[in-house]
């Protein structure tokens, strides 16, 4: 009928309008292809651009090129600190005094020199605003040294791991005068008086190769080359870091809409490996399980023979398979890329008969235990539900019934930190790349207590931990951590399960990109492919 045709025409006009808009895409895309711009896709975990308050992975990625630290890491090596604003520190024999000599050439993006006063202000501000990274400088006093450009950090307790903490972008050095003029404070009451976090979202006051051009926590962060940079100029004029869900990242790299995708799953790499460089390497997060040693929480879980039975029942290789290509199993609790890690072979292995024997020895018949896991997030694409189901099946083989208890992360964390979970799978991301970060797993320590492992439960382990905490000779230190972890494996409630893979792809228009467990990738080191 005539009218139907008319309506159809209207419909066609509507569709044509939509398609006409789509026809503008090539123009839009052409605008995006700027050789001086690098586009990086990642799923944002970002709350602030204020280094003193940040402790999220995306913030480390973004702020590392903007705020230089006293020392840094090169490439993917986290075992050795390298000079940055300062030379490597001179450490006193008692590991309580650290002397840094500032590079006199260092200057902020506004051209003013980086001074000792800026360092003192920046570090005190991190301590005193009492944000997430404040613990990095717990017990640290910062002062001027006797020489020009010398900064001295003293600690209440010996802390050979301090230089590793100082490479964290959260302790990046800021321009004290500018921050103070914009509601910043490093005074003891900075937690009440400092309101500079809003200012940090509008500009940057660091000495790094890039400055902050745009900071939109929901959409994108744009970094612009710092033309006044005192070191080697970076290759890209502009870097755009976009907040993109994992599902779209793969498509973006393959269509060259972006050059780097940081949050791929291992199974996505196959489809992309011909079109882009791919990396699937162990991340620094360690997923571990524990059976609670506090009998008030669970008499079953606290039984040491039962704990042995659980340790021997788990098929660790099977769990690493679930975690996918690139995942590995640490020998204990310290991740494989850190100094002091144990080889995988040192970890427990599955032995069903031995597990049954240990269970018989425990005197507990047909034990049932609740296995709690986080149900609403994954770790680098690995579902805790899958891991828990595998463990449930493994435990069933030796006669242990595990009841699975999924829990949202917000409630899980409360229960976990309160030490009320009888048996769980949980993860630990490094606060800083030094084995001393893991001494918290000892008896009576913060993580140890979450597993009901009270102080005095294992004096030998505590003794080794005390020595390891103050030892500054690297060889002796590594030996002590080896010994500590072996004992932890044998007597403690914790067992390392796997380090999930970090999987990323980068365009072949770039030189291959390295993974760094501290800031994911070094944006300042990325360069176009050589012709």
């Amino acid at each position: 009928m005539m009218d139907a045709r008319r309506v159809s025409r209207l419909l066609s006009v509507g569709m044509a309008a939509a398609l006409a808009s789509s026809a503008l895409m090539p123009i839009a895309q052409a605008m995006a292809q700027d050789a001086g711009t690098l586009v990086v896709d990642t799923a944002f975990q970002l709350k602030t651009a204020d280094p003193a308050r940040e402790f999220e992975p995306t913030a480390n990625l973004i702020l590392h090129p903007v705020y230089e630290t006293l020392v840094t890491f090169k490439g993917s090596d986290l075992t050795k600190v390298e000079p940055s604003l300062s030379e490597a520190p001179v450490v006193s024999a008692d590991a309580k005094t650290f002397t840094f000599q500032l590079n006199p050439a260092a200057k902020f993006s506004d051209g003013s020199p980086v001074t000792v006063d800026d360092v003192i202000f920046s570090l005190n501000r991190v301590k005193n605003v009492k944000g997430s990274p404040s613990f990095l400088l717990d017990g640290v006093t910062v002062s001027k040294g006797s020489k020009e450009g010398e900064v001295v950090l003293t600690t209440e307790q010996p802390d050979p791991g301090l230089p590793y903490k100082l490479a964290n972008p959260a302790v990046g050095i800021v321009n004290a005068k500018v921050v103070t003029a914009n509601q910043g404070s490093a005074a003891a009451d900075a937690d009440k008086t400092d309101r500079a976090d809003a200012f940090f979202a509008t500009t940057s006051v660091g000495s790094g190769p890039y400055v902050l051009e745009k900071f939109d926590m929901a959409a994108e962060v744009v970094l612009k080359r710092n033309d006044a940079y005192w070191g080697e100029k970076p290759k890209y004029e502009q870097i755009v870091i976009r907040n993109v869900e994992t599902s779209a990242q793969q498509m973006n790299v393959m269509r060259d809409d972006s050059q780097i995708a940081l949050d791929l799953r291992p199974d996505q790499l196959d489809a992309i490996k011909d079109a882009a460089y791919t990396i699937s390497v162990p991340s620094a997060d360690v997923v571990f399980m524990f059976t609670n040693s506090n009998a008030d929480i669970s008499p079953v879980a606290a039984n040491s023979d039962f704990q042995t039975a659980v340790r021997l029942a788990i098929d660790y290789d099977g769990i690493v398979n679930i975690a996918g290509e690139g995942a590995v199993r640490p020998g204990s609790i310290i991740p494989t890329m850190f100094a002091g890690s144990l080889p995988t072979s040192e970890g427990p292995t599955r032995d069903v008969e031995a597990a049954k024997a240990a269970l018989a020895k425990s005197g507990i018949k047909d034990p049932t235990i609740e296995l709690t896991y986080v149900s609403d997030i994954t770790k680098n694409g690995v579902s805790f539900a899958d891991v828990a189901a595998k463990m449930q099946s493994d435990l069933k083989d030796v006669g242990i019934t595990a009841t699975l208890k999924p829990s949202p992360v917000s409630t899980f964390l409360d229960d976990y930190r309160a030490g009320t979970l009888p048996f769980t799978i949980v993860w630990w991301g490094p606060d800083f790349p030094d084995p001393s970060d893991y001494l918290l797993f000892g008896p009576g320590e913060k993580v140890g207590l979450r597993a009901g492992w009270k102080a005095g439960s294992s004096p030998a382990i505590t003794e080794i931990a005390k020595k390891a905490a103050v030892e500054i000779d690297q060889t002796t230190r590594t030996k002590l951590y080896d010994e500590w972890q072996k004992k932890l494996n044998a007597e403690g409630p914790f067992t390392g399960l796997f380090q999930p893979a970090f999987s990323m792809a980068s365009s072949k228009t770039l030189e291959p990109v390295e993974y760094n467990a501290m800031w994911t990738i070094d944006l300042t080191a990325i360069s176009p492919a050589k012709q």
Partner: protein, 350 residues
Amino acid sequence: MSYLRTSWYALPNLLRFVLRRLFVGVLLCLGVTLISFILTQVVPGDPVSANLGDRAASDPVIVAVFRERYGLDKPLPEQYALYLQRLVQGDLGESQQTHRPVTTDLGQYLPATIELASAAMILALVFGIALGVIAAIKRDGWPDQLIRIISLAGVSVPTFWLALVTLYVFFFKLGIAPGVGRLNPGGKAPPAITNMFTIDSLLTGQWATFSTAISHIVLPALVLAIYTVGSITRFTRAAMLESLNQDYVRSARAKGLPERTVILRHAMRPALAAIVTVAGMAFGRMLSGTVLVESVFSWPGIGQYAYKSALALDLRAIMGVSLVVAVIYIVVNMAVDLIYALIDPRIRLG
């Protein structure tokens, strides 16, 4: 008192209607703040755990500073009273996840969602009404059957899946749509007037930005529109069928009026009332239900903000979003009632 009553009834019906609805709206908003406040308190989980790092959350000093900064150290009634006191001054508190005033966050994210939902609504109305009219005219014929399948598919297809497939086909495979985001990577937003990039670029004459903004909004708007197209099509068809069976339509045909006039002028007008009602409801639903589309298309709107706020137990942000969504529903419903009265003279407001 009687003077007030006299003055009240002396006001035009329409104004009385609007004032009454606004008064009820304020009460509703108050109720929403109370309910959302109670719900955020009874949800298990501590904002401290959700917002501070592992080490910081174990440090009593840092925890105390956090609680004090966000007013979580005060008794619940006092927290709520303070919230209302600040609300009256236009202050929705500070977000724990962005460290910014919630009003600033909403000012940034809400326009992005309104822009997306409006584009989707325009598409849904154009396609939905056209398909519904065709289906009614061709009742039980093959176009009707085909449109029925299309509308059923529209309301049945999962949005997240559709968004991914659309992106895959039009961006990845065919290359005729741009990638994710509101603009190209690093693209400069137009000067902020409404924070809706299409509108702002038009108002400031930035044609290149306008073209980019339009090209970026087409795919997410289409995906968001699909569900509503289905429901508008079904409502339009039903309303048109009812109209077409009315005596006045038969009379119009008997007078020999062209079929086009009969449908567009005589049958369509009463059907519009039903369409406006469903469109109003759909617009509210779109504004508050964009999270999946926003997530796939990296659209920094209120849906993503609300989702992240819920995960982080960001109480002030959750309450701010709830309040804004409530206001939107109230305003849209009032607008629908007003349009309803304009379309159908039998409806009297007051």
